[in-house]
């Protein structure tokens, strides 16, 4: 029942966001019908573009999951961007250093990304457990530490052949891209990351609902004191929660830097980290909701270029639509009240 209500609210938010977007298109003196036609065509019209949509959605699924998982356990992880960046750096470092065969190298890169991201989030978790430092503050600071770490590490150890501002390109043996998948989707960016993301969605849904670990972590998120009195180690729970959230964001890093792209750039905090908050919000913090929301955002991101090419609508409109949808899902409480009132009125008339 609850899931259905969240789904309805998410769909209403999306519809309202699209309506707001069409108003903007009208202001830009374009036809919203054309605009949306090309926007969705751009993300869906052939197998290659569908592949790109999924490839774009992959890191969003994982960062969204990272934020949602932390949120379900009472923590606010603003640091997905930094954790993702570190995850990407660790994966790139392994991928550029070792010349192992692909079936060995790629799993090592994935493991390193999870480890790096997890470590990056474990620090704020430990600070909160030990000194009660708020995780919003510490994760943001960790973002910048990640930013500057990449800024100095990449040019010093993994400098690219042409550009000072990016790492060398990963070889095909160190890439999540695989030939059969690329062929299947007609040369799209899609890579093994999408499978990682889906497996992780299933795993996290399982952990949250069916395991003692999920039960403990959620209990601590809801009520620290009662959990402590019940014998749950509250500090340990907080650190574990943050570490898992960080590992998820770290995995987003490997799917992005070694899957969607094939090298890491300096001076950029990945926007997917922050988009993860929006994905989590629209997905009502549920793993399956996150999957749906991330694919939808992936679709808008992929389609906006095509829309811009075919019409005079600026691509920023797509970002504006995303922003509007976030506003509507953030204020979904209001819509719910409106809905309840409406239903009561109809019910009262009987």
């Amino acid at each position: 029942m609850k899931i259905n209500k969240d789904l309805i609210l998410a769909i209403v938010a999306v519809i309202l966001g699209l309506m707001a977007g069409s108003l903007l298109m009208l202001v830009a003196k374009s036809s919203p019908v054309d605009g949306y036609l090309y926007l969705f065509q751009g993300g869906l019209m052939n197998i290659e573009r569908i592949g790109n949509t999924l490839a774009t959605a992959t890191p969003l699924i994982l960062t969204g999951l990272s934020v949602a998982f932390a949120f379900r356990t009472g923590l606010f992880n603003i640091g997905a961007a930094g954790q993702m960046l570190i995850g990407g750096l660790c994966a790139t470092a392994i991928g550029l250093t070792y010349a192992w065969p692909k079936p060995m190298l790629v799993p090592m890169m994935v493991g390193a990304a999870a480890l790096g991201g997890g470590l990056w989030a474990a620090v704020p978790g430990w600070l909160k457990a030990r000194f009660n430092v708020h995780e919003v503050v510490s994760t943001i600071m960790m973002n910048w530490i990640a930013y500057w770490t990449v800024y100095y590490t990449v040019p010093a150890y993994f400098k690219g052949s042409f550009m000072e501002t990016e790492s060398q390109r990963l070889s095909q043996y160190a890439s999540l891209k695989v030939q059969w998948l690329t062929d299947l989707f007609n040369d799209s960016y899609i890579n093994l990351g999408i499978f990682i993301a889906i497996i992780i969605v299933i795993l996290i849904a399982f952990v949250l609902t069916r395991t003692t670990l999920g039960y403990e972590l959620k209990a601590v998120g809801f009520n620290r004191h009662a959990s402590e009195a019940a014998g749950i180690d509250v500090n340990r729970s907080i650190i574990i929660s943050m570490t898992i959230a960080g590992m998820l964001a770290g995995l987003a890093g490997v799917t992005f830097y070694a899957g969607y792209a094939s090298n890491i750039q300096i001076g950029i905090l990945p926007s997917q980290g922050f988009d993860g908050i929006a994905v989590s919000l629209l997905g009502a913090n549920s793993p399956w909701g996150v999957l749906g929301a991330a694919v939808f955002f992936g679709l808008l991101h992929t389609g906006k270029g095509f829309m811009n090419a075919m019409t005079s609508i600026p691509p920023e409109i797509a970002d504006t639509i995303i922003a509007t949808i976030i506003y509507f899902s953030a204020t979904s409480i209001l819509m719910q009240r409106l809905w309840d009132k409406l239903r009561k009125k109809i019910g009262g008339a009987k």
Binding site: R210, T211, Y215, G231
Partner: protein, 509 residues
């Protein structure tokens, strides 16, 4: 007089999903009376009053004031009609002063500036008129709970309310504060106000109310004159059966020692010793009551036994083993059960379902989980048994959100959870706080049953009646120190009262 009643609620009906909260309830309030509204937890008292206060709209029925039909759309409308309510949980801004809290929402201004001074002056006058003794410039955070309640009363008076609703006002007060509150209420009716008192404490009704309306499970039972009705009769009307006020228990020879506290010292939250050199033995088959005024070391005592606080010095021996430095979980596993004083803070996870709360102490053990995976089937069965055996009433049974349960049913869930584990030591802290006579009787019976089964029960309560009624031995605590231990059947209220005040003389046994 052109009207007989200042407020009439006639045939009020209100349904919530799965439950009829109010089933054609009628309540008529005369001018200048204190009218008690009596009912068990979850009987529909709060719903009825929320309807009068405009928080809910009735599905059926009419509300009349001074003979005229009115509709109360929201709390603001209720204010305009002269209805004020003191909620059980106060609605005050803690870092504001008394005056700032009272004028919040209806500030009078001088130009652009709030006119605090004249407001404070009016509050002082009101306070004086009704004998409230409130300092308008004090900060809420600095004044006692009793004083905070008076601020809530002043809030209503400042808004010129004539009909005052008190929602279980004595639940949070000490005996002295209760006495003072009663005097205040008498002053209020003497000045022409009318009061509806929501309560389930019969003593208070007898002491102060003129008439009493009884409701049971959402149904109207009767309205009676308090003077002509005995406490037993009121209790019977409320619960629907005979209620005994004393707990039956046969004599029992206590067995071996379960818990031994040796010279225990524990720091309180301020960092000074809240419990000093405290020694006590607790045996199988006995209930030891700890009597004391609030804040005299009870919290430190309980928290050190269950492991929430570290002992500064001394030892805790449980079934012969030293558990002084054991973790909370180890102690739970060894057989310490705990009914906490604050069920919302330490007892329950309100956002979890009843089922999830019932496994809070055992979820990590077989058969409820194996290798970290929860076994839903086993959990269902276990929760179902507790819900049934302890009569936890909820709209959707064990699947209900715990938040949606009435206080009494939440407490039953905790009591059920702890007793069902069948362990050697049960620590019950204020187990009947805020509950009605039916539920109190039930919980006392449960404690005695545990004792009869050979468990050791440690009862900590601020209610001396409860301690005297249920305990086998009574330990009096004052200022963190054990004053003395007496046999319950060889002592009386006076002696224990003196010991609670720290007087050691006359200690028998």
């Amino acid at each position: 007089m052109e009207y007989e009643y200042v407020v009439e609620m006639l045939k009020i009906r209100k349904e919530f999903p799965g439950i009829v909260a109010c089933d054609d309830i009628t309540l008529q309030l005369q001018k200048g009376e204190i009218h008690a509204l009596l009912g068990e937890n979850g009987a529909g008292k709060s719903t009825l009053m929320s309807i009068l206060f405009g928080l809910y709209q009735p599905d059926n029925g009419t509300i009349r004031m001074k003979g005229k039909e009115v509709s109360v759309a929201n709390p603001n409308a209720a204010n305009d009609l002269g209805i004020g309510m003191v909620h059980q949980h106060f609605k005050l801004v803690h870092n504001f002063t008394v005056t700032e809290n009272i004028i919040l929402g209806i500030e009078t201004t001088k130009g652009l500036v709030i006119d605090i001074r004249s407001s404070a002056e009016r509050i002082r006058e009101l306070s004086k008129k009704y004998g409230l003794k409130v300092d308008p410039s004090a900060k809420i955070a600095d004044i006692s709970v009793g004083m905070q309640q008076r601020v809530e009363i002043l809030k209503m008076l400042y808004r010129n309310a004539d009909i005052l609703i008190f929602d279980e006002p004595t639940a949070v007060l000490t005996p002295q504060e209760i006495q003072e509150l009663m005097n205040i209420m008498k002053n209020l009716v003497a000045e022409g106000k009318s009061i509806i008192l929501i309560t389930h404490k019969l003593k208070e009704i007898k002491a102060i109310a003129d008439r009493c309306t009884v409701i049971r499970r959402g149904k109207y039972i009767d309205s009676v004159y308090v003077k002509e009705t005995s406490e037993e009769k009121l209790a019977e009307m409320m619960v629907g059966r005979n209620v005994s006020f004393t707990t039956e228990k046969e004599d029992k020879e206590p067995g071996e020692v379960v818990l031994r506290l040796e010279n225990l010292s524990v720091r309180n939250t301020q960092g000074v010793l809240g419990l000093k050199d405290f020694s006590l033995e607790l045996r199988r088959g006995e209930i030891v009551g700890v009597a004391g005024v609030d804040g005299n070391g009870q919290e430190e005592l309980v928290q050190s036994i269950i492991g929430l606080k570290r002992a500064q010095a001394g030892k805790i021996i449980f079934n012969g083993a030293d558990i002084t430095n054991h973790s909370i979980r180890q102690r739970i596993g060894k057989g310490v059960a705990h009914i906490p004083a604050d069920r919302h803070k330490h007892g329950l996870i309100l956002d979890y379902t009843v089922r999830e709360n019932l496994i809070l102490m055992v979820y990590h053990q077989e058969p409820f989980s194996q290798r970290g995976i929860l076994n839903k089937e086993q959990i269902h069965q276990y929760a179902e048994q507790i819900v049934e055996q302890f009569d936890v009433r909820a709209g959707q049974g064990a699947a209900s959100s715990t938040r949606s349960l009435s206080g009494g049913n939440q407490q039953k869930a905790i009591v059920g959870r702890e007793i069902f584990r069948d362990v050697d030591l049960l620590i019950a802290v204020q187990p009947t706080r805020g509950l009605d006579v039916g539920a109190i009787e039930y919980i006392h019976e449960q404690l005695v049953e545990q004792r009869n089964k050979g468990k050791a029960v440690l009862l900590i309560s601020l209610e001396l009646d409860e301690i005297l009624d249920v305990s086998d031995r009574i330990a009096a605590i004052n200022n963190g120190e054990l004053v003395g231990i007496v046999q319950a059947n060889q002592t009386n209220e006076n002696e224990v009262g003196l010991m609670m005040a720290g007087v050691k003389e006359g200690v028998s046994a």
